[in-house]
Amino acid sequence: MLISYQWLSNYVDITDITPQQLADELTLHGVEVDAVEELGAEVNKLTVGKVLSCEQHPDADKLKVCRVDVAEEEPLQIVCGAPNVAEGQLVAVARVGGRLPGGVKIKKAKLRGQRSEGMICSLQELGFEGKVIPKKYSEGIFAFPENREPGTDAKEALGLNDTVLELDLTPNRSDCLSVLGTAYEIAAVLGREVTLPEAPVTVSEKKASEIVKVTVEDKDANPYYGAGMIQGVTIKESPLWLQTVLMASGVRPLNNVVDVTNYVLLEYGQPLHAFDFDRFGSDEVVVRKAYAEEKMVTLDGEERLLSDSHLVITNGNEPTALAGVMGGAASEVENDTSNLLLEAAYFNPSVVRQAQRDLGIRSDSSIRFEKGVDPNGVVPAGRRAASLIQQLAGGEVLDETAEFDELDRSEKVIRITLGRINSSLGTDLSAENVLSIMDRLQFKAEEEEGEFIIHVPTRRQDISIEPDIVEEVARLYGYDNIPVTLPNTPSTQGGLSEKQKQKRKIRRFLESGGLHEAVSYSLTTKEKEAAFIGAEQRRVAVALPMSEERSTLRTTLVPHLLDALSHNRNRNRYNLSLYEMGSVFHTEEENVSVQPQEQTHLAGAFMGLWEQHAWQGEKKAVDFFVVKGIVEGILAELQAVAGFEKTEKPGLHPGRTASVVADGEEVGWIGQLHPSTAKQWSLPETYVFELNLMKLLESGGDEMRYRPIPRYPAVDRDIALVVDHKVSARELEAVIRETGGELLTRADVFDLYEGEHVEAGKKSVAFSLRYLNTEKTLTEEEVTLVHSQVLKALEEKTGAVLRTQ
């Protein structure tokens, strides 16, 4: 909402406060002022001039040489390029030495050999925005529509000494969508009076109610409809004061009648509509719900398809306006209009809101009706408009507005105690303090046995319950004056839950392992996940996505991590390891009706070198076992018991993929990207993992306990086993552990060899075994006995034989 400071000052005395101070006061008390714009800040030395003569430039087709009277001894010679400059016009002249917006400095100049002593200005050049400039002046210079004395200050005449406040209103403060409403707010904040505008009308003997009949079919949707009549008006350009105040408020002037309705809309916050009664099509106004698929053409020339949830003003036959939103094209006020039907009505907010949403129109009217206008402001606003129209367009205002009236204009009454106010705020206000604040707000209030009885004016539709009164008291008392205390609650045990702590622990672990944490979008596409997750997977889709790219909720974290690797690779970053912890969303339903399962997953993606020390020539590319080591580390951090099983999965290398299995259930996987998947993302050899963190957090182990350090020495035995290629290290280890029993404390792979020194189809796997008895020193015989059993079992169960040199 744009509000002219000068306009405001008609209703509340603000002469002793600067616009900036006013803005600060308003902001601190609850009506935020986003910007304070001094309109003519960059304009000076602007004078009214009269074009005495206007001749073709001898050497330029598009230029004219004008002699302009600025009430000095000699008229100025000014070269002007505007097509509409003409003799006899009163124009705005930027004088030599003056300035215009955009850093323009006016100097004496020669244009194609002709001297030019100033500039005749257009409204654009004076800083008005194109969208508010009247059509008449949109191309070419501005000419005063009314008499002005040459040589007088044109800046003042064009309203350029004004300042505009831009209000950023919260949805509850629609009362400030008007100059008067804002004046009430200022009066409350500064403790001043509001002077209401006068609306003198000379009423004729004829009665509107005898010429037009008003019927309302849906009184909930339209509890009040007033049709005033003004006959014999003359449509013309509005006087300059009206045009400039509208422009300052962001509204484009059109003609005197429409300008008045817009002016009153801004002044009272009450939208009005003037119909050309001769084009209305009948002498009855019927307000009804539209028929299904009924059509009408609105003022903006658009054909609108209506439904039975929309309210229309009709002439008994067809719609002439979309109630509260926009008038119809057929009965629009035109230059030849002479008889007006002036609508002042109250439309139900939800009805207007519905139409606004369905039809995608937000007009100055609809945004006010949808919030609820002041029921007590409807008739005065109509009267004010009639008064101004009579003043500016002449005509006869008919007596007795034709009306339908079932409008509730009663004020809400709220009862609240002083104790309640003070205990809500932590203040120590007296009854007088509260009453004085109510008085500033112009809320009628009395105190009765410790209770305030407060009558809330209907302009404040936002006030309806006790806390609303508490807020009014607080904001006028000043939030800054409320004391600072701490809650008197018993002290509570704050902190993170075990799971929250575990999540942090994993982050620390991954950070120290050299991974960077990524955060990516939850919304993705089925196609992006297709490489890993089949199309048959049910997904949670957004009903109306903003773009195809963000249409379903992710079921895996990996694709966006690959996007991130790809993004970085395209920026010459070849070695990178990323992880992300975030939610994925699963549903069992074809058409989602209940909340999906949301699970916290943890995923990682790795490309390029894992270890590198350039000048020492060390390089180690990431491989399956780097990633496995990280996953094993995560499991260890969580004390989760899980194993790895060879598997195959879509999108991954069939020979380099493992499931992570806990309690017989897959809780995640590791693998190398399948080369064709990698290619899809333009990535080199890339490794990924994804874990269902929720499941792992649940399977987490017991609290850590100390184990005594062994008091007896251990015996180490290294063995190299030759086995069939397909026998896994885990199988070998299982046999070793099973046979080694309690004496075997470690069995670690320390070498793997395949090549010319072992038979084709076989491999050599070397283990380092450690035997230990925690009770006593092991004898050589004991070790040899168990070790030979181990070797025997290996041979029997896996075909492994000791490698001989």
């Binding site: 949805p171 809500s424 932590g426 319950i465 809650p487 609650t489 955060v519 919304l523 957004v542 939610s583």
Partner: protein
């Protein structure tokens, strides 16, 4: 024989002195003190001497041996010292070459901010609560005093999944969910961080996905002055002791009275600059006293209980803290961005 010993002593001492390496010294030792060396020979031939002469020569032999032994040890120490020096000289490196970096990853700045804020509040007795990102209309709106068709719903353009399911537009639904768990008994003291979603076109200042932290305190006798107290403690702890706070009236459907919290601008110290748009203040969070309808829907009796709630944008905090100018950086995962947070 004594002369012979004297002679050998002089000879050996000379050779010890001349030895340049430990090897040479060893050779000298073997040559003179070894089992086949001349001094041993002298000892062996002592049997031929008279009773009187034997102890004299024996003593002399011992003296010579001991002296040579000492000379060798001394020489050995010198040579060892030289050898070590030589070795160290060879082992000299260019210490200005770069060291081997310890691999270290980074925490995403949004995570850092969330964790820091959690830490401040848990230190004040708050717990951390979490809730689903796909919410029902009831928890996201209705229970927060935003019935269907309420104009204030426009403040948050929503990604709907069905007419009843949506991507939460705020972390506030966790308020009501937590209150329900408390079954009408206070105190409730929680902060709830999480992702939220709104239908905004992504640009430098808007993101369709962002993060919020919600806070809620409900108990008997909670006052608006308590909200100021908690904020003051939070701001001083998070932004620094010298920051001032300012509350301005505002509007949120789920609080009444509502407030916006500003902190004094760190860049200009309140003088006014570009960051604070010349006001000297920076808006950091929205807050207010919990609306009685919300308390009621959370199962708390508004006649007995009161509370305050607040919500803050994590990206905004991160942008203010680190001077980041484009919100999209948080979601692009560019290594050049992420790596800068290694030390955080």
């Amino acid at each position: 024989m004594l002369d012979r010993l004297q002679e050998l002593h002089g000879e050996a001492a000379g050779k010890i002195e001349e030895a340049n390496t430990l090897d040479e010294l060893q050779q000298v030792r073997v040559a003179y003190l070894g089992k086949k060396g001349p001094i041993t020979e002298v000892m062996k031939s002592m049997g031929k001497l008279s009773k009187e002469e034997r102890p004299v020569v024996g003593q002399k032999v011992n003296e010579v041996r001991q002296d040579l032994q000492q000379l060798i040890e001394r020489k050995e120490a010198v040579l060892e010292q030289e050898a070590v020096s030589e070795q160290l000289k060879k082992e000299s490196i260019d210490v200005t070459l770069p060291g081997r970096p310890v691999k270290k990853g980074s925490r995403h700045p949004l995570t850092s901010v969330v964790e820091r804020i959690e830490d401040v509040f848990t230190g004040m007795g708050f717990q951390v609560a979490e809730g689903p990102e796909v919410e029902t209309d009831y928890y996201n709106f209705e229970s927060l005093n935003l019935p269907k068709h309420h104009p204030a719903r426009d403040m948050q353009d929503t990604f709907f999944i069905t007419s009843d399911l949506l991507l939460r537009t705020q972390t506030s639904p966790v308020q009501v969910r937590t209150m329900e768990k408390h079954e009408g008994r206070g105190p409730v003291k929680i902060v709830c961080p999480g992702k939220v979603y709104r239908r905004d076109e992504d640009d430098a200042t808007h993101s369709h996905q962002f993060m919020q932290i919600e806070g809620l305190v409900v108990d008997e006798g909670i006052r608006m002055s308590d909200l100021k107290g908690i904020f003051e403690a939070f701001v001083k702890s998070y932004f620094g002791e010298d920051r001032k706070i300012r509350l301005r009236p505002s509007f949120f459907p789920f609080t009444e009275p509502s407030a916006e919290l500003d902190i004094s601008c760190a860049l200009c110290g309140g003088e006014g600059c570009r960051t604070c748009k010349g006001t000297g203040w920076i808006e950091v969070l929205g807050a207010g006293m919990v609306h009685p309808n919300v308390l009621e829907m959370g199962g708390f009796d508004p006649e007995k209980y009161s509370g305050f709630a607040f919500g803050m944008g994590v990206e905004r905090f991160a942008m203010l803290k680190y001077g980041i100018d484009d919100i999209r950086h948080f979601y692009t995962n560019d290594a050049r961005f992420l790596e800068q947070f290694t030390r955080e």
